[in-house]
């Protein structure tokens, strides 16, 4: 570490103009950290959009399929009534009426009898029931103007002899309604094809279902047939028809680049809205069975990424705070340079300036103890030099306590710089993620990215669920925390390497239950490796002994352990940063007092 300081010093003394370059490099580094964080959050939001859209598409496709299936079922239920009525042509009117009554979504029902089936009724006979002004009207509609045998659905039913849904079509004038027809054939008792039945389903409600309460304000959904005809979509006043036509075209154009995701086979196309010029995502999937229509949804990127903006400000602010800290230290180095490093007399001045740096560093740590009805936490950090390479932090987010203690190898200004950056990254990651091993893994990748000196950080990160006492933690090469409960023992720790060494290392997570009224004690090796004048170490055994004798009030406990360490060291100089963090878990229901 001393060589690093030497290098900085020589640098300043030899080339004064380069000071600016170094400061700019430091600023650049911090901005790179900020950009990495921004990208990370942004990717999370895009994944969130994929998840939400996948869910909505699946839900909508289920609603449509269920409606169609219900209609098919009510058809089946009424099949016997049609069969019964075949013997008496006039009773087919009643059968058609019953088909309408059985399902509120059915708008009309027709029974198109095969030509010349009833000689008494002439060549064509088609009883038809439909709703008109709340009443059901039943009539015979075949005639010279309406030869149903020429209709495409009738001909297809004869040809294919299987049930099918027609493509939707507009019907009526005021209001215009979207209908689709389910067609199936009926045979009489002798097995002869007797009639082709059709059930009209009103699809007008679909547009509303697709566009009710979109997750993103300007998102909209629509439904296409297999051939690209628009069945349902947003209202014209909400989305310009040009936009809807354009995206429908994208779905149908196989040359447009798309990605297909997951077992739900959702297609995604990224495109630019031709009307407002905004970047957007188009997600769609086909119904898994007949009629194979396509449900689709469009979300605008600006809205998907909206939450990232306030976060960007926070990141910038933290980066600026860190930068101010760095500038301060670098500036002191530069100004005082050779003179102050050589003259013992003037070292006091550096001392006073570094004490200011220390105050800035202290500002980054939690300012007070955490006092809640279910939890008390307190930390303390006593650097060996004016600025330290240790860190601790705690805060509660969504009913969970996030807490950590870390130790940068080495001490003094270089370690303090690493500590400042590590601390800032850790805070930001913990605001978005709650799996300790994932937070540590991500921190490790960042730390490895810019680590020419091979500086590493040992770190313990825990997430305690305050409602259950379940503790998830990841220990990256740090001293095992001590759990003071019915007994005093160390938390088991897997051998994860410290942060900043191997960028591809996979960090393992562990779990433990923390009983009510237990206390977790975290520390850095400055505690156990404090030496007395004979260079004997304070050691873990003394620490365990001190802890079992202490009160479980974090304030008092940290004071008592600190006093014990100082009493042991006596006249010897403190050689390393001493950091302690105590967390007392006392949920109301089970607390002993």
């Amino acid at each position: 570490m001393a060589s690093f300081i030497d290098r900085i010093r020589t640098f300043f003394m030899q080339r004064k103009g380069s000071r600016l370059v170094l400061i700019l490099l430091a600023a650049l580094f911090l901005e790179v950290v900020a950009v990495v964080q921004y990208t990370y959050t942004r990717n999370m939001l895009i994944q969130e959009e994929e998840r939400i859209t996948r869910m909505e598409l699946t839900m909508e496709s289920d609603v449509i399929l269920n409606t169609l299936r219900e209609a098919e079922l009510s058809m089946r239920e009424n099949e016997w009534s049609v069969l019964q009525s075949l013997a008496h042509p006039d009773s087919l009117f009643g059968a058609a009426e019953r088909m309408i009554e059985s399902n509120p979504r059915v708008a009309g029902a027709c029974i198109a009898v095969l030509p010349d089936y009833y000689p008494a009724k002439g060549r064509l006979f088609e009883p038809y029931a439909h709703k008109e002004g709340g009443r059901i009207v039943v009539e015979q509609i075949a005639g010279p103007d309406h030869d149903y045998t020429l209709g495409p659905d009738f001909q297809r039913a004869l040809r294919e002899e299987m049930d099918f849904w027609s493509d939707p079509y507009a019907y009526g004038t005021d209001p215009v309604r979207q209908l689709t027809t389910y067609t199936y054939s009926v045979r009489d008792r002798s097995g002869r094809l007797a009639a082709i039945c059709g059930l009209d389903i009103d699809l007008t409600w679909l547009s509303d279902t697709l566009n009710v309460n979109p997750y993103y304000p300007s998102s909209f959904g629509f439904l296409l047939t297999r051939s690209g005809q628009l069945v349902a979509g947003p209202r014209e006043e909400d989305v310009p028809p040009e936009t809807v036509d354009y995206v429908a075209g994208l779905v149908m154009d196989p040359t447009v680049e798309r990605t297909i995701r997951g077992r739900h086979r959702v297609n995604c196309i990224v495109f630019q809205d031709p009307v407002n010029g905004e970047e957007a995502y188009l997600d769609f999937k086909a119904l898994p069975r007949d009629p194979g229509w396509i449900v689709a949804e469009v979300s605008y990127r600006d809205e998907v990424l909206a939450p990232v903006r306030p976060m960007m400000w926070r990141i910038m602010l933290m980066a600026l705070a860190g930068l101010a800290f760095l500038l301060f230290i670098l500036d002191r180095f530069a100004r005082n340079g050779k003179r102050l490093w050589e003259a013992d007399v003037k070292q006091a001045r550096i001392g006073s300036e570094l004490r200011v740096a220390r105050r800035i560093q202290e500002e980054m740590l939690p300012k007070s103890s955490l006092d809640r009805s279910d939890l008390t936490a307190r930390g303390s950090l006593a650097p060996a030099k004016e600025v330290g390479g240790d860190l601790f932090d705690y805060f509660v987010r969504e009913g969970k306590l996030f807490f950590c203690v870390g130790d940068v190898c080495g001490k003094g200004v270089p370690a303090a710089m690493v500590m400042a950056v590590t601390h800032a990254i850790l805070r930001m990651l913990s605001e978005q993620e709650e799996a300790p091993a994932r937070i540590v893994g991500e921190l490790n990748r960042e730390a490895c990215r810019n680590n020419a000196t091979g500086t590493f950080v040992t770190l313990f990160l825990g997430v305690l669920d305050l409602s259950t006492g379940r503790l998830r933690y990841c220990n990256a090469g740090h001293d095992r925390p001590i759990l003071v409960g019915d007994s005093v023992e160390e938390l088991p720790a897997l051998a994860n390497v410290p942060v900043g060494v191997f960028d591809d290392f996979t960090y393992q997570e562990q779990e433990a239950m923390v009983a009510a009224d237990s206390l977790l004690f975290l520390y850095t090796d400055g505690v156990t490796e404090s030496k007395d004048v004979d260079r004997q170490q304070y050691g873990r055994d003394r620490l365990l002994e001190a802890l079992s004798a202490c009160s479980r009030k974090p304030d008092a406990l940290i004071q008592a352990v600190g006093a014990d360490v100082r009493a042991f060291a006596g006249e010897a100089e403190q050689s390393d940063d001493i950091t302690m963090l105590a967390v007392h878990y006392h949920p109301k229901e089970n607390a002993k007092g």
Binding site: M1, S3, C409, G410, G454, F456, A476, G477, D479, R535
Partner: protein, 100 residues
């Protein structure tokens, strides 16, 4: 803290004596320069008389390990005492070194 480097049976051996703490880390790192620069020889750190190692000392060992592995050479820790082995175990580095 004292560091001496010699060549023995085709391997480069550094004998570490004393306490490798933060204060002596820079000096030790400089003394180990021949090991950092060597290629094609396995490296041995004789820890028989190494009493204590701080995290800044571990950093030197890990950097040496990374440098050597990149060149296909091994780093062997010889006669490591229990305290130091504990530190290596706690920090998860124990599986990366060879021991004699």
């Amino acid at each position: 803290m004292k560091t001496t480097v010699k060549e023995l049976d085709g391997r480069l051996v550094a004998v570490l004596t004393g306490e490798l703490d933060t204060a002596s880390a820079a000096e030790t790192e400089a003394a180990l320069k021949p090991l950092f620069e060597s290629t094609g020889k396995d490296l041995v750190l004789d820890c028989s008389n190494l009493e204590y190692i701080a995290s800044s000392g571990i950093r030197i060992l890990v950097n040496l390990l990374k440098t050597a592995k990149a060149k296909g050479d091994q780093v062997v820790l010889k006669n490591v005492n229990e305290v130091i082995r504990d530190v290596l175990e706690l920090t998860g580095f124990v599986s990366y070194f060879d021991f004699e």
